[in-house]
Every structure is written in C-alpha cells, then in structure tokens.
Symmetry: C2
Subunit: 214 residues, 2 copies
C-alpha cells in the first residue's frame, strides 16, 4: 500500500518524499488532469501512460486498478480541501467571519487546484464498495464543517438549514463549470461577492448596518 504523502501540498511535490511517492504524485497529477478533461469513464490507462511518459504495464506498479486510481485522486483532493478549511476556520471566529473564511478557503483551494477539484465534484458517484465508503466519509466531514458554520448564523426560521448549506455548496461547486481565470474575479473577490449573496442577498431591501461615518 502506498504511503500517503503529506496531505497538504498538491501541486509540485514534497522534496522529502521517497522516489516512489514523488512518482506517484506525478501520476496522480496527470490522472487528475485527464479525468477533469475527459471524464473518468472516457479516460483510458493508455491515455495516462501517454500523458506521463510511462508504459502501460509500468503504471500498475503504482495502483492496482483504475478505480483505485480515481480513489487516490479523490482522497488526496479531499484531504487538501479539508485540511485547508479546518486551518482557516477556527471555532472561535464570529459566525459571519467564520463563514467568510470558509468560503475563501474553499475558493482558493478550488481555483488553485482546479483539475483535482473538478474530479472531486464531477466524478462523485462512480466509486463503489470500500472506496465509495472512504470518500463518502471525507465528504461527510467536509459537509459537517459547513453545516456547523452555517447553522451558527441567525438563519430566518423559514429557511431549512439543509437547504441553506446545499445552496451554498451549489454556488461554490458550480464554479468549476463557468469560471474563466482571465475573465472572472479571483478567489478573494469572488468569495466576497458570493458571501454577499449568501448573507445579504442580491437585492437587499436596505443599506448595510452601520454605514461608515462620512
């Protein structure tokens, strides 16, 4: 079983990793790109061997099956998202600040590691068995964090918390389908605007609280 690497850095490679883990990291990176571009089912192991300059058989030294390959990509991606969100949202923060921190963390991670996160959101139900259970557990952890943060807000009584959480995730997870780095705002500005919608709405009836003294 391959040792998991540090669960924080996704992009290049941790310099202290073993050659095996470094190479595995490259392979997972290429797999994430291909899965994001073509979809899991439409990507062949031969595509992957072409993309990362290895032979078909040689790849199987790093995973046992195509399903495990997807599992490793998704687990790595989820661990990155979750550890970033946990670090960014200490429970001591006031509710609204904590929400803003959560949204900012989510967007920064998603825009910085887009192929990985595309695989996370788009290939959601294709795993099965123990792989599915393990990923579902990570997903549950992440949603649980969001649930805590959202339910700490003073929600209107008519608004079901589950609908609020899922609507927030809808705004956040839909971004991979439309965001163009050259055209659209970056993570910080985008986060502010989405928080503005989620907290105060796109057509608030009144001014914000405590307008700055002029």
């Amino acid at each position: 079983m391959p040792a998991a690497f540090a669960a924080v850095a996704l992009a290049p490679a941790p310099p202290d990793a073993t050659p095996f883990d470094r190479r595995l990291g490259e392979i997972l990176h290429a797999a994430a790109e291909l899965f994001a571009e073509q979809g899991y089912a439409a990507t062949s192991i031969r595509d992957l061997s072409r993309r990362c300059g290895a032979s078909l058989a040689g790849l199987y030294h790093y995973f046992h099956s195509k399903q495990e390959l997807l599992f490793l990509v998704q687990r790595h991606a989820f661990q990155t998202v979750i550890s970033a969100a946990r670090a960014a949202t200490p429970p001591e923060l006031p509710p609204e600040a904590r929400l803003r921190a959560f949204v900012a963390s989510h967007l920064e991670t998603f825009l910085a590691h887009r192929p990985w996160m595309t695989v996370l959101t788009h290939e959601d139900e294709v795993l099965s068995g123990d792989y599915l259970r393990a990923i579902a557990a990570l997903k549950h952890d992440y949603y649980q964090l969001a649930r805590e943060i959202v339910t700490a807000l003073p929600l209107p009584p008519a608004l079901a918390p589950r609908v609020a959480v899922m609507s927030l995730f809808g705004m956040l997870n839909w971004i991979y389908t439309w965001h163009q780095p050259k055209r659209d705002p970056g993570a910080a500005v985008l986060g502010e605007q989405i928080c503005a919608i989620f907290l105060r709405g796109a057509a608030p009836t009144v001014r914000r609280r405590r307008p700055a003294r002029s």
Copy 2:
C-alpha cells in the same frame, strides 16, 4: 431526420404522435434514465437495448450514433426547460416576481423530469461538432433569459452580474446531487427558500419590508 415532437410534454407520450415518434420517445426516456444513472460514457447501447426491450441493431433505426442519441436527449430536455421558463416569466412582471417565477419554473421542471435534467447538467461538455453547437445555442438562450431577469434587479454595485447569474444557477443546478423527494421540500417551498437566499440572504440584518399589520 426524426420529426421533433411537441417540445412540451416529456413524461408519457403525446397521443397524436406517429408510432415512430412514440417509440423514439420511449427510447429517449430510457436513455435519459441510463445516462443519469451511469453517465453517458459508461452506458452502452447494449444497456439501452436491454432497458427498452429492443435489439441492438434495431435501435439504430431511431438514431445514427450514440452521440446523436445524447444530443436528442439533451435537445428535448432543453426545449422543455426553455418553453416552460418562457411561459412562466412574461416580461411585464415586476423584477422580483419574475425571478420567483423563473426559479419556480426551473425547479418544477427539474424535479418533475429529473433524469433528463441530470443529463443536461452533468453531461455538459461531451458533445462535439454541430451537436455541441446546437446544444450550446439552447443553453445560451436559457442563460440569456436568466441574465435579463437577474440584471433587472437592483444589484449592489459591487456584485458582478455574471457572478450573480452563475451563483443562482449554481444553487439551482446543484440540486440534482442532493435533493431527496421524501426528505426535502418540493419545488414550491424549495423555490421560496432559494429565492429568499438569493434576494435577501441567509442572514439579513433587518426585517422584511412592510410587515403585515397585526
């Protein structure tokens, strides 16, 4: 070329259609279900022949290729969504009422014809060539309608209209991943809650305008 049927009813079949169109409707219905359950790439024509009790070769009397099959499913679904939304949102409506009508129409259509709409949102970029262009044009029409409706609202100046439209679509299109008919509210209540979030936010600072006299 198969004549398109009436573009309104998706579920059973128009009673005045030719036998060919009625059978085609059944096939597209089964295809929509399979594509929604397994994904387009992971669904084989043999799966489809099993599901609708036809032979493999016989199916090819109703479409020329698997790509065209997906195209027919997506076009039919988009025509249904668009005609419903157009009928529900006459331009004379005041901006907020028009938005509420749009959201209600979207949710009713999506919850009533879930497999079709799952295919629409999940298999978004798999077509190519003329098929892609035709579906992209329909998608553009639908987004254009949403853009008109959203930009008629008094958006805060700091909120990019494109971000507002895409966030709204994010909330709406994400629903197919989490909504459980037995657990979650129906289209009407769900529409109210999502409109409440989108218009006034999940944590508004002040009461709504004009509280009813008590």
